[in-house]
């Protein structure tokens, strides 16, 4: 009897210390993940085809507050940093965070670590919308709007199609998403076939491969609002994702209405993804790989995983975009780089993996 008590006490001590250590480690990791995108943001502002020293960049950034700081720096450099690099870096952060966060949310809802935000076809729909607008010689804002609209349309079609068949809702939803995605993919191929190979087709191809060249302060407003709002919502319900990932039955048993939550999360994630894709084109891999990387780093508890993937996604895309615009005189499409760089990173992370997903 006594020895049992002693055993309990000892185990409590041991676990307390260990727990304390764990908490410190966790907080350190949290801090790092929070700071990483911010640090990268400022670093990458100093990189680019046009040489600008980092001290100069700092001065330029502060110059709206006190113009004298930027005296002596060529006007072109200033405009480049403020008008070209700054919005682009910000967009990379937002889009990367969007893709990472929505990938995590979808993996939770579908209980499947192999899906990304395109499971319901939003990216394929957006690709089609953009191709259509490019074919009809639309202006850039029209391309963006069309991509956004068709992205939403694709998800709605997948969603309402799945309501027709009630017995295994999750499976049917996945299936409908894949079907709708394929449908829009085929339609996009059709548009590519019809397009003028000398100018429209390369435009469509480049758009589909993803790039942030056309970012400016004008077309960022919608992106900023939707991404920040959506990310906030996902952050607030992040713990609920744990429960949704157990399945509808258990969720209901725990007092959560899974259908309503899923609809809200899907709507939010779709808006975020559509907004991102309509600005940047199709960027694959981020939504699939970042949640895995996040799980390997902080574990599957969405309370920590979601913020982690927001941060990782933002950092990753920022890094990729900096390479895309700096390495060669011509722009390298983002979709090319995300795979080339993302896959080795994931393989390295997998080797350090603790357990399961």
């Amino acid at each position: 009897m006594l020895s049992q008590t002693k055993k309990l006490q000892r185990s409590a001590q041991f676990s307390d210390k260990w727990l304390a250590g764990l908490v410190v480690r966790q907080q350190a990791a949290n801090g790092l993940l929070f700071a990483l995108p911010i640090i990268l943001f400022f670093l990458t502002l100093a990189l680019g085809r046009y040489e600008i020293g980092i001290a100069d960049v700092g001065r330029i950034l502060l110059s709206p507050l006190s113009p004298s700081l930027a005296a002596g720096i060529p006007e072109t450099a200033q405009q480049l940093v403020l008008r070209v690099r700054l919005p682009r870096a910000l967009a990379a952060l937002l889009i990367g965070a969007s893709l990472g966060g929505t990938g995590t949310a979808f993996q939770a809802i579908f209980k499947n670590p192999l899906v990304d935000s395109n499971i319901l076809g939003v990216t394929s729909g957006a690709g089609f919308g953009a191709a259509l607008a490019l074919l009809l010689m639309g202006r850039p804002w029209q391309v963006q709007l069309s991509a956004f609209a068709f992205g939403l349309l694709a998800v709605m079609l997948a969603f309402f199609g799945s309501r027709l068949y009630k017995t295994t809702p999750l499976l049917v939803l996945t299936l409908m998403g894949i079907l709708i995605g394929s449908l829009f993919g085929s339609l996009t191929s059709l548009l590519k076939y019809v397009a003028d190979p000398l100018d429209t087709l390369p435009a469509i191809t480049f758009w589909l491969l993803g790039s942030l060249t056309s970012i400016s302060w004008q077309n960022m407003t919608g992106l900023v609002i939707i991404t920040m709002g959506g990310a906030l919502f996902l952050w607030l319900v992040r713990w609920r994702l744990n429960i949704l990932s157990l399945g509808d039955e258990e969720a209901k048993a725990l007092g959560v209405d899974p259908t309503r939550m899923k609809i809200l999360i899907i709507a939010c994630a779709t808006l975020m993804t559509a907004a991102a894709v309509s600005v940047s084109g199709v960027i694959g891999w981020v939504g699939l790989v970042m949640p895995h990387a996040g799980r390997i780093l902080v574990g599957p508890d969405h309370k920590r995983l979601l913020p982690a993937t927001l941060s990782l996604g933002a950092s990753f895309l920022l890094l990729i975009d900096t390479i895309a615009r700096t390495l060669l005189p011509g722009e390298i499409p983002l979709g090319v780089l995300t795979g080339l760089i993302g896959v080795p990173i994931l393989i390295v992370l997998l080797r350090r993996n603790r357990t399961g997903w």
Binding site: R49, E75, P202, F206, T213, S216, P329
Partner: protein, 453 residues
């Protein structure tokens, strides 16, 4: 009233040859005692003995039993030897045999008809039967294939826009039965093309024949003798099934363009050959004239030019014809380090290149405003100075590898070096379209083309 013995017309002096400006030169008349015909002939012909049999054949084909009347002097129609490069065909003078031209001395309709007949496909046929022209010629196309062409080539399908421009440039448009046109899809271009060639609406067949796409059955319906297209075409195997010769062009550089023109001319007979040679001579003289002024410039003094594409951030690579134009005009293409076709870049890269002048092409929805009205582009000095210009086009854009591009070079040279270059865009445009397209370009059109915005 001959055009023999003139020196090669320099660009500054070239004007539309009219009857008044041609200086008379003495000829060596063959004195024969030709009997004065009893009836009044349609027109008289002055020709060397070697030319008389083919002329008779032509005459017979046209006028049946009538005999041609040959005289020694004061003829209505003169047949004489010429040198290719110096001869510019027109409605009043044409090369009907290699090195031999027919020149109209009067305005008689019969004479002009005769000249027109002599260089038409039917006339060529007559000359072939008379043994004066070969019935088959063998040429090597620009993809390296040896092609045998039965003469005369009467029915051509041209499924590549620039190639069609070549055919118009050498004056063989009457041989077309269907063609894909460059720069004729927008309403202004289409209207201009129709003015240039009234047959354009029925000839235009872009949906049937293009670089990606060849409707074999429609082609067979038109019964062509020859198909001309670009060497980059994808459907060559299909066309081979029709058993019709296919001639491939690939004119991405100035040298290749000249070669393409000459080949195009040779396909259709001596007159078109002469026109092609005339164009090549013109092209070279233009380049020479510009080089005179720009060659001494050092690299640092040359104007830096950025040639953009259908999007402001899509630029021409160093391997494209547009870069050649810039260089021939004496400028430097900032994007010459890129390779391939159109390249996508970002604004920073353009800022690093720092061009002095930005050129926007006249196709693909590109516009000057897209650049000048965009706040980000203001970081470039060229945009701030307002030096963003649109390459002109009447039908064929002046920056594409087609005969019209000679004007593109002139236009650009005048733009980049207005003080030193003496060629005048308006003057040259008139000359070019009158001569090579046989199109009386209006003053409005010239102004629209040459006024720089």
């Amino acid at each position: 009233m001959l055009v023999l013995g003139c020196s090669a017309p320099t660009p500054a002096e070239v004007t539309t040859p009219t009857a008044e400006s041609i200086s008379p030169v003495e000829t060596e008349a063959i004195s024969t005692n030709t009997p004065v015909p009893t009836t009044v002939p349609r027109f008289t012909i002055q020709a060397d003995a070697s030319f008389q049999p083919p002329l008779s054949a032509l005459y017979a084909a046209l006028y049946g039993d009538e005999q041609p009347v040959f005289v020694d002097s004061n003829a209505d129609l003169i047949a004489a030897a010429v040198e290719g490069e110096t001869f510019v065909p027109s409605s009043t003078q044409a090369v009907f045999l290699p090195g031999a031209a027919l020149i109209a001395a009067t305005d008689s309709a019969d004479v002009l008809d005769f000249i027109a007949f002599a260089v038409s496909a039917d006339g060529q046929q007559v000359l072939i039967e008379a043994g004066a022209l070969p019935d088959v010629i063998t040429l090597t196309d620009q993809a390296g294939n040896t092609v045998e062409l039965a003469q005369p080539v009467r029915r051509v399908i041209s499924s590549h826009g620039p190639t069609t421009a070549l055919i118009y440039g050498v004056g063989a448009q009457d041989r077309l039965v269907a063609a894909s046109y460059l720069g004729a899809r927008d309403p202004a271009g289409a209207a201009a093309m129709e003015r240039i060639d009234p047959r354009f609406p029925e000839l235009a067949a872009d949906d049937l024949f293009s670089q990606q796409n060849f409707n074999v059955e429609e082609a067979a319906l038109r019964n062509p003798d020859l198909i001309t297209t670009s060497a980059r075409t994808q459907w060559l195997d299909v066309a081979a099934e029709l058993d019709i010769p296919v001639f491939l062009f690939q004119a991405e550089t100035p040298d290749l363009l000249k070669e393409a023109m000459l080949l195009a001319g040779q396909i259709f007979g001596p007159n078109t050959t002469a026109q092609a040679e005339a164009w090549v001579a013109y092209y070279e003289s233009v380049i020479e004239a510009i080089a005179e002024h720009t060659a001494p410039l050092s690299d640092g003094e040359r104007v830096r030019v950025l040639f953009t594409g259908t999007e402001p951030l899509r630029v021409a690579s160093g391997e494209m014809y547009q870069t050649s134009i810039i260089e021939l005009a004496g400028g430097v293409s900032v994007s010459a380090e890129l390779t391939g076709y159109w390249n996508d870049v970002n604004l920073e890269q353009i800022a690093t290149w720092n061009p002095d002048v930005i050129i926007v092409p006249p196709y693909g929805g590109a516009s000057v405003e897209a650049i000048t009205e965009s706040p980000e582009w203001q970081i470039l000095e060229a945009v701030q100075a307002g030096r963003v210009y649109r390459m002109p086009k009447l039908v064929v854009p002046w920056d594409t590898p087609a005969p019209d591009s000679v004007l593109g070079i002139i236009w650009m040279a005048q733009l980049l070096y207005p003080e030193t270059v003496e060629l005048d865009c308006a003057e040259q445009a008139r000359y070019f379209y009158n001569t090579f397209y046989r199109y009386a370009i209006t003053d409005e059109e010239v102004t629209a083309l040459c006024t720089v915005q």
